[in-house]
């Protein structure tokens, strides 16, 4: 008896989805990316008249661009670090300990995202004004910290909950102290998912503009805020394109490092998948 495997047919639905997504997501990126590397590109030409790094040189020669890059990186790093410092122990407590008001507190983190977001920074700006935090680095840190709470609590909670308690008990059984169990068993098991949360929070903070503009402007200018002001106020649209390409770098690095996490499925587990 012979049997032949039927050749897999083209999945047309999949192809249509892929094409549409490519057009919607990749096409604008290509346009912006191309514009950043052109010296001359006038309507109605489809292909730029002249390629070159003229605007890169001009953009990178500006002091405000460099200071905003530094600001953005320190800001994102500080916020992520503080967020991890505050949220990871809290997440462990939510996942493993029992205390009064636990569920209410847990859902309150969601509530912060359930209402129109711009209202929150405006209200906070009023308070910050009295505390002289407007226009300061730490003011922006505080407002951006609020934005990271949801990711940095909910994802690690799911990660900690996914760790099999028997594994922890088995470690206690062979002689590990509670701290050692956390360090050698719980953290490595939850690690990839927590790394994903940290990454999300870093990238999210890096691109955040609402809070940064409202609280930080004009003294504290992050890269995205600077880009917006370029696009809004400058006649040279290429500056915006160059900055936008610059802004892809952290996403790209984040995506590369997240690939392992996403592939291993722990990222989906973090969301309860």
């Amino acid at each position: 008896m012979t049997a032949t495997l039927a050749r897999p047919k083209w999945d047309w639905t999949g192809i249509v989805f892929a094409v549409v997504l490519t057009l919607v997501i990749v096409f604008p990126l290509i346009v912006v990316g191309t514009r950043a590397f052109t010296n001359v590109w006038r309507y109605p030409s489809v292909i730029p008249q002249e390629f070159g790094l003229k605007f890169w040189n001009q953009t990178l020669a500006r002091a405000d661009v460099w200071s905003s890059i530094t600001t953005s990186l320190t800001l994102a790093a500080t916020v992520t670090f503080l967020s991890a410092l505050i949220c990871l122990p809290a997440a462990y407590a939510f996942a493993r300990l029992d205390f009064p008001g636990r569920n209410l507190l847990f859902f309150s983190f969601l509530a912060g995202h359930a209402f129109p977001k711009f209202g929150l920074p405006v209200a906070i700006a009023g308070i910050f004004l009295q505390l002289n935090l407007i226009g300061t680095f730490w003011g922006v840190v505080l407002i951006q910290l609020v934005g990271t709470l949801l990711f940095m609590i909910w994802i690690p909670v799911a990660a900690f909950r996914a760790v099999d308690r028997r594994m922890e008990e088995a470690a206690r059984d062979v002689g590990a102290s509670p701290f050692r169990v956390f360090w050698s068993i719980t953290l490595p098991r939850a690690g990839p998912t927590i790394a994903a949360a940290i990454l999300l929070s870093f990238v999210g903070t890096f691109y955040e503009t609402e809070g940064a503009r409202l609280i930080g402007a004009p003294q504290v200018r992050t890269l995205p805020v600077l880009m917006i002001s370029f696009i809004n106020n400058q006649p040279v649209i290429q500056y915006g394109a160059v900055l936008s390409v610059l802004l892809w770098v952290p996403s790209f690095i984040a995506l590369l490092s997240a690939r392992r996490v996403v592939n291993s499925g722990s990222f989906a587990r973090g969301f309860g998948g």
Partner: protein, 337 residues
């Protein structure tokens, strides 16, 4: 060495048990009988509200799990899947700050013992269910615990593998002469492995005896019904005769209610043309023997084991002759014949 362990936990677990050196004791009972809780108390994962747990005369009741000389094997194997087999076994030894070559020697020795020599570099997720459970056993054994605690370790394995591992574990336990507490709800497991079976119900000991004694001389109707197949007939005794739905049997005890227990293999059947006290409901031929389901006039079901099942057919009247019975009243044995 004389490990003693006794625990008492209000309100529902009330327990006192001495385990001898090198003995394998099976805690057997239905789910919710407290057997796992008891084991976890010995391991240190649950606290008794009162009472003492002692090992070798040393009180461990309030010691943390990591300070106890016990080794626990969990039902779900609970191996650390982010470490390979060697690291799983070496973890406890490293905590004890043993030199690296000593750790290597001991880990390899134990892997050899459980039949997994050379598996050290494997990832635990690559192993089969039986191999994973062997690694879990090895992880406990490598630390040479004074008491090995097994919490339904074979429950997630298939029947065939379960039987093989059961024999292996028993062999290893006897070779190492390691005192073992084994929790199971499978009576086969308890009867085939244990030096002593402790039948538990609602957190209390119903009977603690050698497996054959538990099977042949169950001391309470619960044990009688829980171990093996047993016909339990509730009825009453008057003038030295037990009666239930037309079925009577001489029973030399005081008048009153009684539960009569008869093993299927101790119930002889005789085919009769009429006036039979029971009717055949179904006949099952197992090849080596047959099992006849009977129905008394009040629809009570009984089982009888017969050598020649082809002698009986459904609907046929039969006379019942119990060869050996036990009688219980108020959860206690009152008569045996």
């Amino acid at each position: 060495m004389s490990p003693r362990c006794s625990a008492r936990r209000a309100p529902w677990i009330s327990f006192s048990l001495d385990v001898a050196d090198g003995e394998l004791v099976c805690l057997l009972g239905p789910s919710g009988s407290g057997k796992s809780t008891l084991l976890r108390m010995v391991g240190g994962f649950e606290q008794p509200s009162s009472g003492l747990i002692t090992i070798d005369g040393q009180e461990i009741t309030h010691l943390l799990p990591e300070k106890r000389p016990t080794g626990m094997v969990f039902q779900s194997h609970a191996l650390w899947t982010h470490m390979n087999v060697f690291k799983n076994l070496a973890f406890g030894l490293k905590l004890r700050r043993l030199p690296a070559d000593e750790i290597k020697r001991r880990v390899e020795g134990v892997l050899e013992l459980v039949g997994l020599g050379g598996y050290g570099t494997r990832s635990v997720t690559q192993l089969s269910g039986g191999q994973q459970q062997r690694v879990a056993l090895a992880r406990s054994l490598v630390l040479e615990p004074k008491i090995l605690l097994l919490d339904e370790p074979f429950a997630s394995l298939d029947q065939h593998l379960r039987e093989r591992l059961r024999e292996e574990v028993r062999d290893i336990q006897q070779r190492l002469k390691i005192t073992t507490l084994f929790v199971t709800h499978g009576q086969d497991e308890a009867l085939s492995m244990a030096d002593r079976v402790v039948v538990m119900r609602d957190g209390k000991i119903e009977q603690a005896d050698r497996p054959d004694v538990v099977y042949r001389e169950p001391r309470t109707p619960f044990v009688a019904g829980f171990i093996g197949t047993m016909n339990l007939l509730e009825g009453s005794v008057s003038n030295g005769v037990f009666n239930r739905a037309g079925f009577s049997f001489p029973l030399p005890v005081a008048d009153g209610p009684a539960i009569l227990a008869i093993r299927p293999e101790a119930l002889d059947l005789t085919a009769v043309t009429e006036n039979g006290r029971a009717k055949v409901h179904r006949v099952t031929d197992y090849g080596t023997h047959g099992l006849v389901d009977l129905e008394l006039p009040d629809a009570t079901r009984l089982k009888a084991s017969v050598a020649h099942p082809d002698l009986f057919t459904t609907g046929q009247s039969v006379a019942l002759t119990p060869r050996a019975v036990a009688a219980y009243r108020d959860h206690a044995l009152i008569h045996r014949s």
